[in-house]
C-alpha cells in the first residue's frame, strides 16, 4: 500500500503542498471566471429590476396623493328640495346641473371670504374644481338630506390640470398652450394654497372609486377593478386548488402507469404552455356564446383563469408529490395503512409547502393576466360596483386590475399615465403580498418537518 503512493514520480501529488501546481491553478482560475459570469448575470438582473421599479415608482407614486379644495357651500332649500318634504324620489330629480352652480358660488364666496381677488370669471374659477366633485356633492346631499338649508364644508377634488400642476405634470408654460387651463387659473390655485384652502392628502379614492371618464382622470380609481380581481381570484382558488390537487393526487398516486396516463401527462404539460389568449377565445366560445354567461362578469373571467391556472397547479403539485421519498409511502403501507391513509396522513402534508407555493404562483399569474380578459369583455367601462358574491356579484360586470391598467394606458390625457403607474404599483403590492404569503405558508408547514 505505502509503496504504491510513495512511489510513482508521475503521480499527481508530487511536489510541495505550499506551491500551487499548474492544474490546480488552472482549475481555480476557471472557477473564478465562472463565479464572475454568475455575478455579472445577477447584477444585470438586479439592475433591470431596479430600473423598472424606479420608472414605475417615479411615474406612479404621485397617484396616491390627490389635490383637494376646501370650500364652504350653501345648500339652499328652494334649489334642492322645493317641496320641503325631503322625499328622495323628488330630490333626485335635481341633477348635477342643479348642483354645479352651488359649488361654483361656494368657491367664489370662499375666495371672497378669504380676501383673494381674481380677474377670472366665475366660470373660469369653477374650472379649478373637478366635475366629479359636483356628483360627489349631490350624492352626499341625497344620502343625508338634513344638510339642506345649511352651509357645509366640502373637500372638492381639484381638476386634473390643477392636480397635475402640483405633481409637476402641468407648468405655466404648458398651461399657455392648454385650452383646458390658463396660467391665471394656476396662479389662483397657488394663492388658494397659500390661504390653506388647497392642499394634497392621501388619495383613498384611488383604491375605492370606480373608473372615471376620459375627462376626469382625477376621479379615476381602482375600486371596481380590485373587487373584480378579488372575485376572480376567489373563483380560481375555490375551483383550481381542489380540482388541481385532486387530479394530481390521482395521477401521481393512484392512476396506473399506462399509455392513457402518459397522454394525459403530456397534454397537461402542453396546456401549461398554451398562450393565455387562447384560453380567452375558449372562454368566449364556451362560457359566453355557448353557456350564455354574461360578458364582463368575474364568473367568466374566473373560469377562464381557472383553466389557465390548473396546469400550473397540477404540475407543481405533482412535482411536490414526486419529491416525497417513496420510503415514507412504504412505511405507511407496511404498517397496514390504506393507500388513501398513506397519501393523506403522510405524503400530502409533506408535499403541502410545494403545493401551496405552486398554487400561489398560479394565482399570481392569474392576477396579472390580461389578454384572455380582454376577449371576454372585461375591458368595458364599468362604474357600478358588483354586488357581494352572495347577491350574485360574480355575474355583475366588473373589470380587473391588469385590464384597468391596460385601459388607462390607452387614454389620451397624460394624467392617466400616472393612474396606470399607480395601478401597477397596487398590482405589484398584491403580488408581493401573495408571494410573502407563499413564503410564510411554506415556512409554517415546513416546520412540521
Amino acid at each position: 500500500m505505502t509503496d504504491v503512493t510513495a512511489a510513482g514520480p508521475t503521480g499527481a501529488g508530487k511536489g510541495s503542498l505550499l506551491n500551487q501546481d499548474d492544474r490546480t491553478g488552472k482549475r481555480n482560475r476557471a472557477e473564478g471566471r465562472f463565479k464572475m459570469y454568475g455575478l455579472i448575470a445577477v447584477c444585470i438582473g438586479i439592475g433591470m429590476l431596479v430600473l423598472l421599479l424606479i420608472s414605475i415608482l417615479s411615474n406612479g407614486l404621485s397617484s396616491f396623493q390627490q389635490t383637494t379644495l376646501r370650500i364652504q357651500v350653501d345648500l339652499p332649500e328652494d334649489k334642492l328640495d322645493k317641496s320641503g318634504v325631503r322625499d328622495p324620489s323628488v330630490m333626485s330629480k335635481v341633477t348635477t346641473f342643479g348642483y354645479a352652480p352651488l359649488l361654483r358660488d361656494g368657491l367664489v364666496a370662499t375666495l371672497a371670504a378669504n380676501g383673494i381677488e381674481t380677474e377670472l370669471s366665475d366660470k373660469d374659477v369653477a374650472e379649478l374644481i373637478s366635475d366629479e366633485s359636483v356628483a360627489q356633492l349631490r350624492n352626499r346631499v341625497l344620502a343625508n338630506p338634513d344638510v339642506i338649508g345649511t352651509t357645509i364644508e366640502v373637500n372638492a377634488l381639484a381638476s386634473g390640470r390643477i392636480d397635475g400642476y402640483y405633481k409637476d405634470r402641468v407648468t405655466m408654460a404648458s398651461a399657455e398652450r392648454d385650452s383646458n387651463i390658463s396660467p391665471e387659473q394656476l396662479q389662483l390655485a397657488d394663492r388658494l394654497k397659500e390661504a390653506g384652502l388647497l392642499g394634497t392628502s392621501f388619495n383613498w379614492l384611488f383604491f375605492t372609486a370606480p373608473d372615471a371618464s376620459d375627462t376626469r382622470p382625477e376621479a379615476a380609481g381602482l375600486g371596481v377593478a380590485i373587487l373584480g380581481s378579488l372575485y376572480m381570484m376567489l373563483i380560481v382558488l375555490v375551483l383550481a386548488l381542489p380540482i388541481g390537487v385532486a387530479a394530481s393526487i390521482y395521477l401521481e398516486e393512484f392512476a396506473p402507469q399506462n399509455r392513457w396516463t402518459d397522454l394525459i401527462e403530456v397534454n397537461i404539460s402542453n396546456l401549461a404552455a398554451v398562450p393565455s389568449i387562447v384560453f380567452g377565445i375558449l372562454g368566449l366560445a364556451i362560457f359566453i356564446n355557448f353557456a350564455g354567461l354574461p360578458q364582463s362578469a368575474p364568473i367568466v373571467g374566473g373560469l377562464v383563469l381557472t383553466l389557465m391556472t390548473l396546469p400550473t397547479i397540477i404540475i407543481a403539485t405533482r412535482a411536490a408529490l414526486k419529491a416525497v421519498p417513496p420510503s415514507i409511502r412504504d412505511a405507511a403501507l407496511g404498517l397496514g395503512a390504506s393507500k388513501m391513509q398513506s397519501v393523506f396522513h403522510h405524503v400530502l402534508p409533506l408535499a403541502m409547502p410545494g403545493i401551496l407555493t405552486g398554487t400561489i404562483i398560479g394565482l399570481a399569474q392569474a392576477l396579472g393576466e390580461t389578454a384572455p380578459l380582454l376577449l371576454i369583455g372585461m375591458v368595458a367601462f364599468v362604474r357600478e360596483y358588483p354586488d357581494s358574491p352572495l347577491d350574485g356579484g360574480f355575474f355583475d360586470p366588473a373589470t380587473a386590475l391588469p385590464v384597468q391598467i391596460f385601459n388607462w394606458t390607452q387614454r389620451s390625457d397624460p394624467a392617466f399615465v400616472e393612474r396606470a403607474s399607480g395601478a401597477i404599483i397596487v398590482l405589484l403590492l398584491f403580488l408581493l403580498v401573495m408571494n410573502l404569503t407563499a413564503i410564510f405558508l411554506r415556512r409554517k408547514f415546513e416546520r412540521r418537518w
Partner: protein, 265 residues
C-alpha cells in the same frame, strides 16, 4: 448468551404459518426469485441469509405483498398464511399488512414526532381506547425496541432527528406497536452497536412466543444466535433451508458451505 436458545428452540411446532410454493418474482425482465418453496413455522425465528442482491428482501416483500407497490414487479406462485392464499383476489393487502408487519432495510421513520411514529399504527387500527392506553402501547413498544431510555425525554421531537441506529430501533418499535402476527425484519441490526443488537435480539426471541419472525441478516453469528430455521438464498434460488444448527454445522450444498465459511458473497 443466545446459544442456549438455539438448542432448546430446536424443537418447534410443526404447523406451518407461511407456506410458499413455486414462487417466482420478476422485476420487468429480471428474474429475481426463482421457484422458491418454503414453509415457515409459527412461533419460530427464521433467518434469510445470502449474498447481496440474491433476493432476500424481494422474497420478504412477497409475504406482505409490498411488491404490489412496485409497478414493474410481478409475483407468481402460491403463498399461504394459515392456509389462506394471500394473493387471492378477495384478500385486501391493507388488511394483510396489518397482520404481517415489516421493518424495512433502510430506516424510514415518518417526519413526525417519535411518539406519533410509534402511535401511528395503533391509531389507524384502533388498538387503543384512550390516550393513556396509547401512551402505554408507545412506551411498551419503545422499551421492547430498546429505545425507551434514549427517547423518553424527547417523545415530541422528530423521529428523523435520531441517529441511524436509533431510527432503526424506532422503526422496530413502530412495527411492534401494531401487534402483527408475523414480523418481517430486513436487516434490523445493520446500523446497531453490539449492545443495541443484543437488545433487539432479545426482543426477537421474546416476540417468538407469540409471533413468527422472519429476519434477513448478513451476520452469520446473528442468524445462529436468534433463529431456529435458516434459509440460504443464492442468485434468486433458495439453495438450502433447514434447522439453523444443521445449516451452520453440516450444510448439504457446497454453495452454502462456501458462503458460510466466507468464500462467496
Amino acid at each position: 448468551m443466545k446459544d442456549t436458545n438455539m438448542t432448546e428452540n430446536a424443537v418447534t411446532t410443526d404447523t406451518p404459518k407461511i407456506t410458499a410454493r413455486g414462487v417466482q418474482v420478476y422485476y420487468g425482465d429480471t428474474h429475481a426469485i426463482k421457484d422458491v418453496d418454503v414453509e415457515i413455522a409459527a412461533n419460530t425465528v427464521t433467518a434469510f441469509i445470502g449474498p447481496s442482491g440474491c433476493g432476500k428482501s424481494t422474497f420478504l416483500r412477497c409475504i406482505n405483498r409490498m411488491n404490489d407497490t412496485i409497478p414493474i414487479a410481478r409475483v407468481e406462485g402460491d403463498i399461504r398464511i394459515d392456509g389462506e392464499d394471500i394473493y387471492d383476489k378477495r384478500v385486501d393487502p391493507v388488511q394483510l399488512r396489518a397482520k404481517v408487519g415489516m421493518v424495512f432495510q433502510k430506516p424510514n421513520p415518518f417526519p413526525k414526532s417519535i411518539y406519533d411514529n410509534v402511535a401511528y399504527g395503533p391509531r389507524i387500527h384502533g388498538l387503543s381506547k384512550n390516550k393513556a392506553d396509547l401512551d402505554e402501547i408507545v412506551e411498551n413498544a419503545l422499551r421492547r425496541a430498546a429505545l425507551w431510555d434514549e427517547a423518553k425525554d424527547r417523545l415530541q421531537q422528530p423521529g428523523t432527528g435520531l441517529s441511524g441506529g436509533q431510527q432503526q430501533r424506532l422503526c422496530i418499535a413502530r412495527a411492534v406497536a401494531t401487534a402483527p402476527e408475523i414480523l418481517l425484519m430486513d436487516e434490523p441490526c445493520s446500523a446497531l452497536d453490539p449492545i443495541a443488537t443484543a437488545q433487539v435480539e432479545e426482543l426477537i426471541d421474546e416476540l417468538r412466543q407469540n409471533y413468527s419472525v422472519v429476519i434477513v441478516t448478513h451476520s452469520m453469528q446473528q442468524a445462529a444466535r436468534v433463529s431456529q430455521k435458516t434459509a440460504f438464498f443464492h442468485l434468486g434460488h433458495l439453495v438450502e433451508y433447514g434447522e439453523t444448527g444443521k445449516i451452520f454445522t453440516s450444510p448439504e450444498d457446497p454453495r452454502t458451505e462456501s458462503y458460510i465459511s466466507g468464500r462467496i458473497g
